[in-house]
């Protein structure tokens, strides 16, 4: 009886999303899944070609593996980097620093800056001959790094660029840090713990659900963003920054191969889903809930 009541309440509270899913999401999602098995050029009628799209993806498309590899490297490096930076910033901005409200706003600002402006800025910073970074390095006697013009460095530059986008994660961490009971810090401090041990044994476990959240979200986001890197490096040099989501977009709206693009999108879904499941499973022993 109790179980049935819980089930009803559960469904009741979840009903807004369920209704929304049935009305707004199910049809588009199933359409796109269907399209991935068809040849569909947006205005014509899709016709069934079975696994051909997937076959072509894996065996006949030189850009597929390149972009997949690039996106994998990009995600695997930028996700831990960005989550760590966001957490550190949040911890610092949670302290009694003078002007912290201004600091927090400043670190959040790049989130609202249009992609075009960020692209211009990255060129100013990463330009090999006159860029600000290389100017700074030359002060220390380090020779200029070809940030954007060398195929080896371009991806690294791209990963660095994403750290400007940690504002969202930082804000979420800030909110999460509020829920860490102050008495835990006091108790640990009285035990003689210094800053690092406080961070490692109190802060991190207490915000671990939030860390998990940000990690999962960063994984998903890293497989969906392509606009700013596209503007800055145009996928180059030599396709070193050609990311997978860009392929989906180009195939959908420039090559008009909606069926093929859908196949690529659903494959990407499998990868993201797998990575997320893996992350959630790995987190079981590590994340603390009340």
């Amino acid at each position: 009886m109790r179980r049935r009541r819980e089930l009803l309440f559960g469904l009741l509270f979840a009903s807004p999303w369920i209704v929304g899913f049935l009305v707004f999401t199910l049809y588009p999602l199933s359409s796109s899944l269907y399209y991935s098995f068809t040849s569909y050029h947006i205005t014509g009628t899709p016709y069934w070609i079975g696994w051909s799209n997937f076959q072509e993806m894996f065996t006949d498309d030189n850009l597929f593996w390149v972009s997949l590899w690039n996106s994998a490297v990009y995600s695997l490096v930028s996700v831990p980097l960005d989550v760590s930076v966001a957490l550190l910033l949040a911890v610092m901005l949670n302290m009694a620093i003078p002007g912290r409200r201004i600091f927090r706003t400043i670190f959040f600002l790049p989130q609202i800056v249009p992609g075009v402006v960020m692209a211009i800025l990255f060129v100013l910073l990463f330009n090999t001959q006159d860029g600000i970074f290389n100017d700074l390095l030359s002060v220390f006697g380090i020779s200029p790094i070809p940030w954007l013009s060398s195929p080896d460095w371009a991806m690294r530059s791209l990963i660095l660029m994403t750290t400007w986008g940690v504002g969202n994660s930082m804000v979420i961490f800030l909110a999460g840090l509020q829920d860490v009971p102050a008495h835990l810090y006091e108790a640990a401090r009285l035990d003689g713990a210094g800053s690092f041990r406080l961070f490692r044994y109190v802060t991190v476990p207490m915000v671990s659900p939030v860390i998990l959240f940000n990690v999962v979200l960063s994984i998903i986001a890293s497989f969906q963003t392509f606009v700013v890197p596209f503007i800055v490096t145009n996928g180059g040099p030599l396709n070193s920054t050609m990311l997978y989501p860009l392929q989906v977009y180009l195939n959908a709206f420039q090559n008009f191969r909606m069926g093929y693009a859908s196949a690529e999108a659903w494959f990407m879904f499998l990868i993201i889903f797998g990575l997320t499941l893996l992350t959630l499973r790995l987190s079981r022993g590590v994340v603390h809930y009340s």
């Binding site: 009741l12 509270f13 707004f24 600091f103 800025l121 909110a175 999460g176 829920d179 659900p209 659903w266």
Partner: protein, 313 residues
């Protein structure tokens, strides 16, 4: 989950014992030097933040300084960091059709007409759904959560056309409805965020309320929501931002320029073969300023002034 309970209990014991010792230690001198160490720590962090914030502030600075430049200074090499002369008239020009028709107030009104209902809908519906996922134990709950997560993983490009065709069929294209109504069915990101926060809330409070005879409605309204103020503030902020800066959806669902939003309106400054950069930046500064103000003044809702009343007292 057990670990945390144990950690909490042992710390409480320590706190009780330690308090007595603290009074004793106050008389000794190392308490003062601890404060000194605190000050040094804060000073160091302050310096680090100053250095980093220069980098993070640069994009906005570029926007503002370009908005005040004359064209000849925008793309110089090396870059001109301080405009000289400062051309305040760029802002006037951007608003008064001197360069291009940018109906700021009209677009602002349209943007608010979309954003306010959309944000309200997101917050209300997402918190309801998140409660179901976090605080009600029912079979299939985790599957639903997985499904919600999964919907975030498909890029919008491949679902854009079927969704658009659906909205055409029900006659919503050309109105604000496709931009506001779906928000009332919950947003996956917000649901996920709130679920995590709701789950973090201490179980003791719910057990106590359950014993007192509260049902789900009561627990949701009186316990979960008040305790989740920081998370709700975050959701409000992000939802506001996303709707304010949304480009693709207003682009495809609106075809009448009198209904355009601010993000669409700024394209008035993308000319035939060139971009009116200084006026565009002036327009962007005006479009984004409300977001900066919003963030600055709502910080305290998700950062300061929230006391964790749960386990104390």
């Amino acid at each position: 989950m057990d670990n945390l309970d144990r950690a909490g209990r042992s710390s409480a014991e320590l706190a009780a014992g330690g308090a007595a010792q603290a009074v004793h230690r106050q008389r000794a001198r190392w308490w003062t030097s601890t404060r000194g160490i605190e000050r040094i720590k804060i000073g160091a962090v302050f310096l680090v933040l100053c250095a980093l914030s220069l980098l993070y502030f640069l994009p906005i600075y570029w926007m503002i300084s370009t908005s005040l430049k004359v064209d000849a200074q925008i793309f110089t090499n090396p870059p001109t960091w301080i405009p000289n002369p400062i051309r305040w008239s760029n802002y006037y020009d951007a608003l008064n059709d001197a360069i291009s028709h940018f109906p700021f107030l009209q677009d602002l009104r349209n943007t608010l007409t979309i954003t306010v209902p959309a944000v309200t809908g997101t917050v209300v519906s997402s918190s309801i759904v998140a409660y179901s996922l976090a605080r009600i134990k029912w079979p299939g709950r985790d599957i639903l959560f997985g499904l919600i997560l999964a919907t975030m993983m498909i890029p919008q490009w491949v679902t854009l056309i079927p969704l658009y065709i659906f909205f055409v069929k029900i006659g919503w294209v050309g109105t604000f409805l496709p931009l506001t109504v779906p928000s009332w069915t919950g947003d996956a990101f917000s649901i996920f965020l709130l679920r995590q926060f709701f789950r973090q809330q201490p179980q003791e409070m719910f057990d106590a309320a359950g014993i007192d005879g509260a049902n789900h409605f009561g627990m949701f309204w009186r316990i979960v929501l008040p305790l989740a103020k920081p998370a709700l503030a975050v959701v409000t902020l992000f939802s506001f931002l996303n709707n304010w800066t949304d480009f693709i959806n207003p682009l495809i669902y609106l075809s009448d320029p009198s209904m355009y939003t601010l993000m669409l309106g700024q394209y008035a400054f993308f000319g035939a073969h060139h971009t009116y950069w200084s006026e565009l930046m002036a327009a962007d500064v005006m479009i984004l300023a409300p977001l900066v103000v919003l963030f600055f003044f709502t910080q305290r809702f998700f950062i300061e002034g929230v006391t964790f009343t749960g386990l104390r007292g």
